[in-house]
Amino acid sequence: MALHTLELTLEPATAAGPVKAPTHIGVTGSSDLEVLIQPEDLSGKVSVKLVTPVTGFDALWERVLRKFIDETSLSDTRIEINDNNATPAVVLLRLHQAYTAANAA
């Protein structure tokens, strides 16, 4: 099964800075995904690389990620996502878990 890669660069409305420490959350299991999140100087932007077996949902991914960036005002952060058919709800939950863990570290 060919995997689909989506790369996005997003910019928060107001930049609150990067996460504190590199963090890994979740597993690439059925209906789930893993998130790697780390601080990196990206001129205030957030870079996302997503690998997923599902095609046809690029616009949905972008909406979900934009909501996460808007809610957290995250900037200067690199996010990698390896997905196995997670729903948007699970994606957002894992992103928030990664964000919380990365700042608690």
Partner: protein, 557 residues
């Protein structure tokens, strides 16, 4: 009085039954026992073309041998049967229509045969009466759909015809009573014919023939959910349900659907529920089958009473060992009864909570999809506001008090309202949006020539929607505009959700009509499997003190 009785014969049904039984007389081996090899001949003797026939088809136990035998009768003699039965989950149930033996169908639940039901309606093999709720269909057994012959199912029988239906009594009493007391014929397949029964569930004089089936009847563990498959997101929804609904309204009596969300709720009662101080205040009386995921909460003393529609494989010993909670017979085993459990779930319980495949922009929900006539099982009887209810309770009154439009219908007279909750992720399997502009049920109605789209829960009965975005308190909405806005606000990234206006959602949150996890004081990062009192099947066995005996396919350790 007899001199006023001018009609010649008031006993035509009894005479007809006697004639049919006379034709079957040579087939009886000993007492009411008929040998398995003579079953087809028995059915040919007692069934006539055009009869109303019931094959006991429940959620779980199935009169599968009798269904197979009915498929083997001479269809030049027996045809155009009108099948009335709760469920048609077996291939043999539909083969009757394919084989030209049966013609008309009135039922409640299609399950795995849903696609064939739709196909056969479309190509004319099935003439559909209606898709019912269970209680509605049971009611019609005593009104205009009384079976002429019923083919039922029990664990054991004696040669006088007494039946032991035991743990999985389910529909047997209601079918047999309707059939026998209108001079019908009752035939039972049993796993074993014995000299003495553990207890009598159906008296022998209501049963005409018993047959020891060549193999035990088919039974499925439909209500077993492996905690290992519960996701963090389901736990987040479960936390919102407990805090924002169970705790908010003090819901003590309820039915839980069979999805993973309700399993998650059951498994966080002893952890998150205890932390919220809800023990003794919620979930004390439940109408559910013996869900294995209820074991930790039962063991922790949350539950006072559970009445069951049917049993659940593997839970026999556990349930029998907790007679303070379950309804146990003098013989020491569970007695379930779908008609009574549905009655309690419909009239007596304060809440129904379950999931669905689709919710439209008005709040109507359905699991019907184009090409599948599945029916809805127990959900619609419990997932509605019972207009015949008169007894008050805290949760029922509060839910009604919050209804802003109540006075437009009852003036100054107060009335409560059943809580009907749908808990869903905004996107389901395969990223199919749950929130839709129009239910697929409309397409199904068209393709299968139904008069109305099959709706599982109507919008006016639905009081709460829970998604990962939050809770929509639909009972607090004054009109359809507000309801639709509240639904949009929790519909996430679906097309419906994207039409939500931020300022409108803000106003709904301020009015307490929509609550997000943070409005409820819930930290989503706490929503992890650590909250589950049991994380896998083995934990459930441990909680049960070794009394729960999971079916082989769930023994994964």
């Amino acid at each position: 009085m007899t001199q006023h009785d001018t009609r010649k014969d008031w006993r035509t049904r009894a005479a007809d039954t006697a004639a049919r039984k006379e034709a079957a007389a040579p087939l009886f081996a000993k007492g009411k026992e008929v040998l398995a090899k003579d079953t087809v001949a028995l059915l040919e003797a007692v069934i006539r073309a055009g009869d109303v026939i019931n094959i006991e088809g429940n959620n779980q136990k199935q009169a599968d041998f009798l269904a197979d035998c009915l498929n083997q009768v001479d269809k030049s003699k027996i045809h155009d049967l009108h099948m009335v039965q709760s469920a048609v989950p077996l291939k043999s149930h539909l083969d009757l229509f394919d084989n030209g033996i049966a013609k008309k169908l009135d039922f409640a639940f299609g399950g795995p045969q849903a696609a064939r039901v739709a196909e056969f309606i479309d190509n004319g093999k099935i003439q559909l009466g209606a898709i019912h709720t269970y209680l509605e269909l049971f009611g019609r057994y005593f009104l205009d759909l009384t079976p002429r012959v019923s083919l039922v199912c029990a664990y054991k029988a004696d040669r006088k015809g007494n039946l032991y239906t035991g743990f999985n009594t389910e529909d047997t009493p209601v079918i047999v009573e309707a059939t026998k007391f209108k001079d019908g014929i009752v035939i039972a397949q049993v796993n074993e014919i014995v000299d003495e029964l553990p207890r009598v569930d159906i008296p022998g004089d209501w049963v005409d023939a018993v047959i020891e089936s060549p193999k035990p009847f088919f039974i499925e563990p439909l209500f077993t959910r492996d905690p290992a498959n519960i996701t963090d997101n389901q736990i987040l929804l479960a936390m919102m349900c407990l805090k924002g609904i169970y705790g908010e309204y003090g819901v003590t009596s309820m039915n839980h659907g069979i999805g993973f969300l309700t399993s998650a709720i059951e498994l966080i009662l002893p952890t998150y529920g205890a932390e919220l101080g809800l023990k003794g205040k919620i979930c004390t009386h439940m109408i559910i089958n013996p869900h294995p995921t209820m074991i930790p909460a039962i063991e922790e003393g949350w539950v006072e009473a559970i009445h069951c529609f049917g049993g659940e494989l593997g839970m026999e010993d556990y349930v029998a060992s907790r007679p303070d909670v379950f309804f146990i017979g003098p013989d020491g085993t569970l007695r379930s009864n779908r008609a009574f459990a549905q009655t309690a779930g419909h009239y007596a319980a304060d809440m129904f909570i379950g999931g669905t495949l689709q919710i439209d922009k008005y709040g109507n929900s359905s699991t019907a999809t184009a090409g599948r006539v599945a029916g809805f099982g127990g959900a619609p009887n419990m997932g509605c506001d019972p207009k015949g209810r008169r007894h008050p309770s805290g949760a029922w009154l509060k839910c009604g008090e919050e209804l802003p439009s109540l006075d437009s219908l009852t003036g100054s007279v107060p009335r409560g309202k059943r809580l009907v909750v749908q808990g869903v992720e905004t996107f389901g399997e395969g990223r199919k949006p749950v929130f839709v502009d129009e239910l697929d049920a409309w397409k199904l109605a068209k393709s299968a020539n139904l008069d109305i789209p099959p709706v599982m829960i109507y919008g006016d009965d639905l009081t709460h929607i829970v998604t990962e975005e939050g809770i929509a308190y639909l009972n607090r909405c004054k009109d359809m505009e507000t309801r639709m806005a509240a639904i949009r606000a929790v519909a996430g990234f679906t097309e419906i959700g994207l039409t939500a206006k931020p300022e409108e959602t803000k106003a709904l949150r301020e009015a307490g009509i929509v609550k997000t996890p943070s409005d409820l004081g819930i930290d989503p990062s706490r929503a992890t499997r650590d909250l589950l009192a049991a994380k896998n099947m083995r934990d459930l066995v441990t909680w049960s003190g070794g009394l729960y005996n999971p079916p082989a396919r769930f023994r994964n350790w």
